[in-house]
């Protein structure tokens, strides 16, 4: 076996995750690559996880850690919703994630972006990075691919965008990060949350915009093989 491929390495979501607020709600976005070292363990994973009807979270870092944190928070929010008799707010969800991330900071390698809509504060995005702090932001980016996006967001994010503008911004940003970041790839998934509910979207890799020096998608060798006429010698 190739010594460079260490299958016992922790599974990490070398990732691009994004949360953006717009006029009336939020758009969350993520790529779909999960890797173990240099091997892609899952090329179509869903890193935007549901916490409640109106709150979702983008996960990055160790897959195991982020799954456990979001499982616990989903469970706590479910209890909280029953006790309160109404949907939990985005702030409560983000604060629960912060609580777990901070009190177990030595055990956890995970950064998250919480996004959702509630009747008190509307669409809100909270970043909960590695150490377990919490930051309310108009837009948040995370994961290994985010380093390619800071400048882009400083330039392209505008106050009071429409839903369509925000979603196109997210898809454009994730596809830019996929093009430059080796640990991000696959498809782009988005989740849009507003007063009307939740819309999930999926953009296959061959339908994303092409960037500098990128080539048009080709039919795979396998498709060409099956279509081609038998070769004669």
């Amino acid at each position: 076996m190739d010594p460079k491929i260490d299958s016992s390495a922790p599974i990490s979501t070398g990732t691009t995750i994004i949360g953006v607020t717009y006029n009336g709600g939020v758009v969350l976005g993520a790529d779909s690559r999960t890797s173990t070292g240099v091997y892609v363990a899952n090329r179509a994973s869903d890193k935007i996880t549901q916490l409640t009807d109106n709150v979702y979270v983008c996960r990055s870092g160790s897959a195991a850690d982020s799954q456990v944190v979001s499982d616990y928070v989903r469970y706590f929010l479910h209890q909280h919703t029953i006790q309160l008799g109404q949907p939990a707010t985005v702030k409560v969800a983000a604060n629960l994630i912060r609580l777990l991330s901070y009190s177990n900071k030595k055990m956890l390698q995970t950064g998250m972006i919480v996004g959702g809509w509630d009747k008190y504060e509307g669409g809100k995005i909270y970043g909960v990075p590695l150490g377990g702090t919490i930051i309310e932001q108009p837009f948040a980016i995370g994961g290994s691919g985010s380093s390619y996006l800071y400048g882009f967001f400083d330039q392209a994010w505008k106050e009071g965008m429409t839903k369509e503008e925000a979603e196109q911004l997210v898809v454009k940003a994730v596809s830019l990060a996929i093009a430059r970041d080796g640990a991000s790839g696959g498809v782009v998934r988005t989740v849009t949350i507003n007063s009307e509910g939740v819309t999930k979207n999926f953009y296959p890799g061959d339908q994303l915009p092409l960037w500098y020096e990128e080539l048009e998608p080709q039919n795979s060798l396998l498709d060409i093989q099956t279509e081609a006429v038998p070769m004669s010698i």
Partner: protein, 267 residues
């Protein structure tokens, strides 16, 4: 020493030095260099595994079983340290059995998944079991992969172990939605063969397990691509030591009965 109390890590430093100089070798576990796979087909799930167990570069079992029983409707392929995959699947399968006695209902795949991932996450990757979990329950067919650190994935087709790259190349080129049973078994067998022939850690035979609604089919040694080529014409004989004078089999009576019918939650 400048240590201001507490623990002393002097021996860690010494051990590191000994390993670095090559004076001692660090201890290692028995791993099952393995190819295990699973896929979802038309009406259920098919699991597959090779049958080689290794200790370093020695093949210590040429025909071991890597598809473990979890529940009548759920099976689980294991890769990694042999002892860990065996122990973790046995433990969870007994928890599932007790849960079935308690609820009187068929086990669900998600229950097995949660029990396995909780155990593995708790041990922070030190229980080195990489699993492919498959089964059919009241909510349909399910296939999951579980990594030693406790992360899980839900997939239509999955591979694990040192032969996973070889096996995945077969799945990526041949898998499609709505395969029939026979097509599914063929692709699973082919994927395991890719591991057997192209990965040093995998070898010997192909085991397959087909799970459908209310039915399971364990095809032990479904394909034997590496048969023995020479068997001594004289055969083997053992000297007579202890004689069997009498054989009597007394079947044990079932003491606990699971009542399948009826809704246990309602009074």
């Amino acid at each position: 020493m400048e240590n201001s109390g507490g623990f002393s890590f002097d021996l860690c430093k010494r051990n590191g030095w000994l390993v670095e100089k090559g004076i001692v070798k660090p201890p290692s576990f028995t791993k099952t260099g393995t190819t295990i796979v699973g896929l979802v087909f038309q009406d259920g799930v098919i699991l597959g595994a090779d049958t080689r167990a290794t200790a370093g570069s020695i093949v210590c079992d040429k025909n071991c079983e890597k598809i473990h029983y979890m529940a009548p409707n759920i099976y689980c392929c294991g890769a990694g340290t042999a002892a860990d995959t065996e122990a973790v699947t046995d433990m969870v399968s007994s928890q599932l059995q007790l849960h079935r006695y308690h609820t009187g209902r068929e086990s669900r795949v998600i229950t097995a998944l949660t029990l396995l991932k909780k155990h593995l996450f708790g041990y922070q990757g030190y229980v080195s079991a990489a699993l492919v979990l498959g089964g059919v329950d009241c909510t349909g067919p399910h296939l999951h992969t579980i990594y030693p650190h406790g992360s899980t994935d839900t997939l239509p087709f999955a591979t694990m172990g040192s032969g996973s790259l070889a096996a995945m190349s077969v799945f990526e080129s041949k898998y499609k939605e709505g395969l029939t049973r026979d097509e599914g078994i063929k692709i699973v067998t082919e994927a395991i063969c890719a591991g057997i022939f192209n990965d040093l850690g995998s070898g010997s035979n192909v085991d397959v397990c087909v799970l459908t609604k209310g039915h399971k089919e364990y095809l032990r040694n479904n394909l034997m691509p590496n048969p023995r080529t020479y068997v001594s014409a004289k055969g083997y004989s053992f000297s007579k030591k202890t004689e069997v004078l009498m054989t009597k089999v007394t079947p044990l009576k079932e003491r606990v009965e699971v009542i399948e019918a009826g809704d246990a939650m309602e009074e």
